[in-house]
């Protein structure tokens, strides 16, 4: 992926660029809003990462400017401003995702990948297929290898989110946001318990598991190879 990072904290940016490069992404870094806006409007990127607090400028202004120009490149907004309403403001301004500093790099990476997947798996689809697992979004039914799997509504939604990001890491925070629409970190391992229940249902009795735990990051649904 080709990424644009607009971030004034040079040290943080250096870490990020290094990490992204190690994960196989090329990254352009702009240290101020003017340069960032120039790059955003002249180059083509897969995802743009924009810090909100830039010297003399709100990162959201860049997002708006980019959107006004008809550019639909996914934007991930970084912010030291916590709070749910800040998130809402960021998304209203045209951002596609919002991450509060400080964040785990794995979280950033998972979200970046999820953003690029957006164009690939259309929301309007009625069936998701992951290997021998079939998810009927209209009938709310799931089969694996032709065998019916009974899921509770919340398990179904969990599976749906994982399936939409097939092959990619989905973090616990992302699951909590996308399945339950909660934006806080529970102190207990809620998501792990839900995942283990889901795993019981879709992987039990099959030789190869599909639902994998990615250590220190999250979960990943992969077709059996």
């Amino acid at each position: 992926m080709k990424l644009l990072l607009i971030e004034d904290d040079r040290e943080a940016a250096a870490f990020m660029v290094k990490g992204l490069r190690e994960s196989g992404h090329t990254t352009d870094h702009a240290a101020d809003g003017r340069e960032g806006l120039f790059l955003a409007t002249t180059e083509h990127y897969d995802v743009m990462i924009i810090d909100r607090m830039l010297p003399g400028m709100d990162g959201l202004a860049i997002v708006s400017a980019v959107r006004v120009g008809g550019n639909t490149t996914p934007v991930l907004i970084l912010s030291a401003l916590d709070g749910v309403d800040e998130r809402v403001r960021g998304l209203k301004a045209g951002g596609d995702d919002y991450l509060t500093k400080p964040y785990a790099f794995s979280e950033l990476l998972a979200r970046l990948e999820a953003l690029t997947r957006r164009g690939v798996a259309p929301q309007a689809t009625t069936k998701l297929r992951v290997g021998d697992l079939e998810i009927d979004l209209l009938a709310r039914s799931v089969t694996r290898h032709g065998r019916d799997i009974e899921l509770l509504p919340r398990e179904f939604r969990l599976l749906e989110v994982l399936a939409r990001h097939v092959g990619h890491v989905v973090t616990r925070t992302m699951l909590l946001e996308q399945v339950w629409d909660y934006h806080f970190d529970p102190q207990t391992n809620v998501i792990d318990v839900h995942i283990s229940r889901l795993r019981q249902k879709i992987d039990k009795g099959f030789e190869q598991p599909m639902l994998h735990t990615v250590r220190g990051a999250g979960y990943c649904l992969k077709p059996v190879d």
Binding site: E11, A12, F15, M16, K18, G19, E22, S23, A80, D82, G83, V84, D85, E86, V88, K101, P102, Y103, A104, F105, S106, L152, P153, R154, W180, Y182, H183, F184, D185, P186, Q187, T188, N189, V190, V193, H194, R197, G216
Partner: protein, 489 residues
């Protein structure tokens, strides 16, 4: 309200009243004594003057003159209190208004006292006379005295009047004392109430000052400036801790990303280093979570949280949370259930903040309830709002600790060993207060019952059970008691 009769002011008033009563009685007693002596002297002087007059007559006009004067003076028309009796040597009356010589002895002071017999049909029962007598030449005896009826009447009236005076004094004093102590108590009560509210956490409360500049005003001003100082110090501490949280967050974030970057090349790292890194990241995350929670509490408490309030349904919110935590509870062999009436339960609030607050309460219950246990979430209707009750079968919280557990970083002894930062309840309370609600800890016998009250967005439709409170509600109208899992299926 302090018990009036046990108050110091009332006791002081009583003591003063006692002293005052004694003083008044002493003064009145003196007045009485003086008056009575004066009256007695008057009586004796009158008699003496009379005697002098009669002696003059005797000297000038002899027996006849004396008899005439006595007869004239003792005629009933004159209505005098004077008593006269002139007898011959055989004590046979010659003149006067007594019909016989009284059967009384003469005291050492030359006076005699004797009861008066009715004279001429006049009612004079109980009348006492004071008289003196002389032996005249020729064996004649003269008695001059005075009916003391008027004097004793006067004395009696005086005693009555003085008695009433003492009584009135005591009554007025008591009333005044009561009024005074009530007024003082009212002012002390105001001070007490304000202090209690400050103790309960309303640091902004101040003791009312009347502006009269009296002792109470001065006391109130002193206490208020003390409270100002406390509030200032508290704000300072809070400010410092918030700043620390804020300023430490950035370097901690950098620290975390460095550790994470080092972790991202695991193949080149020996396993022990990897573990150290992993643990360090976990610690950094814990610290960050604590800082974030501190900042969130500070913002919620300041009421400045950029929280956009929107209408939401409390039942939906709770069902969502129970749905999230039900498997966790199940895994711990705790049954988590929710019971609500048929909605709607409209409140105005921030869904994310409220969810987080309620999640904290649920997580607390989950953390401290041993297996096999039970956690029940009940949504009820109260006056003007709703109540969310989260009851568990855990060890509960002793009454003495129920206030302090809301303070930051307070963890009770038995929970020290379990994970957590001691900020969950603080945040929950801050958020609920931000929503104009309140949170209370009660005994679930056994276990803890957390009762959250939130105001309704609009007055709820009147329910017939509203008058009877929760007890009735549970008994009669609570028909929907569903596990959220089965509800959603």
């Amino acid at each position: 309200m302090i018990d009036l009769f046990r108050s110091t002011t009332f006791r002081l008033a009583l003591i003063y009243l006692g002293l005052f009563g004694v003083s008044v009685m002493a003064v009145l007693g003196f007045v009485y004594y003086q008056t009575v002596i004066y009256a007695d002297q008057q009586t004796d002087e009158t008699i003496d003057a009379e005697i002098t007059g009669l002696a003059e007559q005797w000297r000038q006009r002899g027996l006849a003159g004396l008899v005439a004067v006595i007869a004239e003076r003792s005629s009933t028309e004159r209505g005098s209190n004077m008593l006269y009796l002139l007898t011959d040597s055989h004590q046979r009356p010659l003149a006067g208004n007594l019909d016989h010589w009284p059967d009384a002895t003469i005291g050492p002071d030359g006076w005699m006292r004797f009861p008066l017999q009715p004279i001429g049909g006049q009612p004079n029962r109980g009348h006492i006379a004071r008289a003196t007598s002389f032996l005249l030449a020729g064996g004649y005896q003269l008695l001059v005295g005075r009916d003391l009826w008027e004097r004793s009447q006067f004395r009696q009236r005086m005693v009555t009047a003085l008695g009433w005076s003492v009584g009135l004094t005591l009554l007025l004093g008591l009333t005044g004392g009561l009024i005074m102590s009530r007024r003082l108590l009212a002012r002390l009560d105001a001070i007490n109430r304000a202090s209690d509210q400050v103790t309960a956490g309303e640091l902004g409360r101040r003791i009312p000052v009347r502006g009269s500049g009296d002792e109470f005003d001065r006391l109130a001003q002193t206490l208020n400036s003390m409270l100002d100082r406390i509030e200032h110090l508290m704000a300072g501490i809070r400010q410092v801790s918030d700043n620390i949280a804020h300023d430490l967050r950035s370097p901690l974030g950098r620290l975390r990303s460095r550790l994470e970057m080092a972790m991202r090349t695991p193949d080149r790292l020996p396993a022990p280093y990897r573990d150290v890194l992993q643990e360090s990241i976990a610690d950094a995350d814990q610290l960050l979570a604590t800082f974030n929670a501190l900042l969130d509490i500070a913002e919620a408490e300041a009421g400045s949280l950029r929280a956009e309030m929107a209408p939401l349904d409390l039942a939906d919110l709770l069902h969502g949370l129970v749905d999230l935590y039900e498997p966790v509870a199940d895994e711990k062999q705790i049954s988590l259930s929710i019971a609500t009436l048929n909605g709607p339960f409209p409140v105005r609030g921030n869904r994310h903040l409220l969810s987080r607050a309620m999640a904290n309460l649920l997580e607390n219950a989950l953390k401290y309830t041993p297996a096999p246990g039970r956690i029940t979430v009940t949504l009820g209707v109260t006056r003007g709002g709703f109540s969310v009750t989260i009851a568990d079968t855990g060890p509960g919280i002793p009454e003495s600790a129920r206030q302090i557990v809301f303070d930051r970083f307070v963890r009770l002894e038995h929970s020290r060993t379990s994970p957590g930062n001691g900020l969950g309840l603080s945040l929950a309370r801050a958020v609920i207060q931000l929503h104009g609600g309140s949170i209370l800890l009660e005994d679930n016998e056994p276990g803890l019952r957390v009762v959250v009250s939130l105001p309704a967005a609009e007055p709820p439709a009147p329910l017939p059970v509203e008058e009877h409170g929760m007890g009735q509600l549970r008994g009669t109208n609570l028909t929907v008691a569903l596990d959220s899992a089965s509800r959603r299926q």
